[in-house]
Amino acid sequence: MTTLSYSVAIILMTMGLWAMLSKKNLIKKLMGLAIFQTGIILFFISMGAKEGATIPILDHHGYGGIYSDDYANPLTQILMLTAIVVGVATLGLGLALARKIYAHYGSFNEDDILANLREPNE
């Protein structure tokens, strides 16, 4: 479990990076971005996990003492909430741009778009 969850996070990030760099389709690139970001989130969440801890909501309003070992780390979760929301905002903007590109060049494919760009009378 120690290396597994970090490794999975790294695999996901690498996969996302691969898609962003090598895929020709703009939508696939955005999917790669989404996968990259989930990889990062998994990385952060797994660093804040604790063996045998419960969710970070205090039982019975903290009555009977609060022990930090009993609750998962809230800090990493906040950071990742931020990252998720930022991710969806970026995704929306990217999709809007992809939509505009499709409207002008009639394709999501990077090569077609570049070929179209070079044509002088486009």
Partner: protein, 490 residues
């Protein structure tokens, strides 16, 4: 409480943007007055912050009243106060310029939204310069980047493809930075910059810190368009509207350089960078290459906007080189150059915008026409060119002098040579523009002088005067910056 200035400098543009967003559709007539009030107040706030820092040296501001490792703090030293002053000064100039430039570029129905994003972008830049929390930097990167994407995409049909690439590259840079922060966080358990600087020396010799260093620097390099990662920048900036460019080109990359200084100089410490990692040769090679490549492209291109973009690429090389040289003088030179270069770039971009709008193009021939027809612009252009070349009373001279001095002191002669070559190229470039005035056959025989609108002339004149003033007051700034430098500089 004088430390309130630290918040007001970022809060005033933020609230201005929100008020604009709320009333923009109901009362579009008031937009420019709200904006003018906001930017004036913001400039006052930054001056207040500057004077506070001149006496107190250091201002901390704790959001929510929680002390740093628990809450988020703004930490303003003298350098960041200078950066705030720079951002607000440039933003004020750009705002005045955009009042006239924007109606030429965008339909009026988009103006309220445009200015909302514009002010959010300004507040994001300011906050990046003053925040003291490494994760907050990521969020602010995204605030700046997203509003930047939207503003840059306004350049019309040609701008969409470069902007899409910029979305990918910008997100990639921010993600790299975030992973790096993750590695730092997992070894130290804190996100506050000052606290990190305290905790890090105990874990200096671990691989994860090395990984964190690599990822953070690479992420910042992508964001600031240093040489191997510069591909996205010239394309997206040349296609953007000029009023966006006035804000993005001077500040977007410079602020990232400052963040790099903060992260490398204050969090990792210069000692880690030079003695433990010994990455200095790699970084200096990158910086030198950036200068050389930028210079080559400058010679190659024939349009003013594009030339400015590659000047930026090489100037980024100056600053990164100055930071990684690790000498006291070179770091002062780099910081001074960040501010000077922001002023120079905004002037150059405004000149390009005026030429584009008044003369209909920005090729070399059009620029040469400028000397005949737009005298005010031409004078500003000459002044800024002198500064780019590095003629003595101008700020470009002092920063270059300090950088070359630092390069010689630490033995990176290649960097010094690259700087000199860049200066020579600037001379060449300037004369290429200027020769057009003498030798070019103009097709219409009696070129008439046109008057630029006031909204173009005021910022140009102010920027030119500011440039000269910034150069003349160099000794003051030298002492001012020197007191805030990171520890461990020779």
């Amino acid at each position: 409480m004088s430390s309130q200035w630290a918040f007001l400098a970022m809060g005033i543009p933020f609230f201005t943007a929100l008020i604009m967003g709320s009333v923009g559709y109901a009362a579009p007539r008031f937009m420019r007055w709200i904006g003018a009030t906001g930017i004036t107040l913001a400039v006052f706030a930054s001056i207040g912050l500057w004077s506070t820092v001149s006496t107190d040296e250091y201002v901390s501001y704790f959001f929510g009243g929680w002390l740093p490792p628990i809450g988020i703090a703004l930490e303003v030293d003298r350098i960041s106060a200078l950066m705030v002053l720079m951002v607000h000064g440039v933003a004020a100039l750009a705002y005045i310029f955009s009042l006239k430039a924007l109606p030429n570029e965008l339909p009026a129905s988009k103006h309220p939204v445009y200015y909302t994003l514009y002010f959010l972008l300004i507040s994001g830049f300011v906050a990046l310069a003053v925040t003291g929390d490494v994760f907050n930097v990521y969020v602010l990167f995204e605030v700046c980047a997203l509003s930047g994407y939207a503003l840059l995409a306004m350049g019309g049909k040609k701008a969409y493809v470069p902007t899409f690439n910029y979305v990918l590259m910008g997100s990639l840079g921010a993600c790299f930075y975030l992973i790096g922060v993750g590695y730092l966080f997992i070894k130290t358990g804190t996100l506050n910059m000052a606290h990190l600087a305290d905790v890090l020396p105990t874990v200096f010799f671990s691989r994860s810190i090395l990984t964190a260093f690599i990822l953070i620097t690479v992420g910042l390099f992508v964001k600031m368009a240093l040489f191997p990662f510069h591909g996205w920048m010239p394309n997206v900036y040349t296609k953007a509207p000029v009023s966006t460019l006035c804000l993005m080109a001077p500040l977007g990359t410079k602020i990232c350089v400052y963040v790099l200084l903060r992260v490398v100089g204050y969090v990792f410490s210069m000692e880690y960078m030079t003695n433990i990692l010994a990455v200095q040769p790699i970084m200096m090679t990158l910086a030198t290459l950036a200068i050389v490549v930028g210079t080559l492209y400058v010679v190659y291109h024939r349009h003013l906007t594009r030339i400015i973009m590659f000047i930026i690429v090489s100037e980024i090389g100056y600053m990164v080189g100055g930071i990684f040289l690790g000498q006291m003088d070179s770091v002062i030179g780099a910081v001074y150059h960040i501010a000077a270069d922001a002023l120079m770039t905004v002037t150059l971009v405004m000149v390009a915008g005026v030429v584009r709008h008044c003369l209909g193009g920005d090729a070399i021939a059009d620029v040469a026409m400028m000397f005949r027809r737009l005298p005010t612009t031409a004078i500003a252009f000459v002044i800024v060119c002198l500064s780019v070349i590095g003629v003595p009373p101008m700020p470009g001279f002092f920063s270059k002098f300090l950088l070359i001095k630092g390069a010689f002191m630490s033995g990176y002669y290649g960097f010094a040579v690259a700087l000199l070559i860049a200066s020579l190229t600037a001379v060449f470039l300037f004369f290429r523009f200027f020769e057009g005035y003498f030798y070019m056959k103009t097709d219409n025989t009696a070129p008439s002088v046109i008057q630029e609108p006031w909204a173009y002339r005021i910022p140009l004149v102010v920027a030119a005067i500011g440039l000269v003033g910034f150069g003349l007051s160099f000794s003051y700034w030298y002492g001012f910056i020197k007191l805030a430098l990171p520890l461990g500089l020779a």
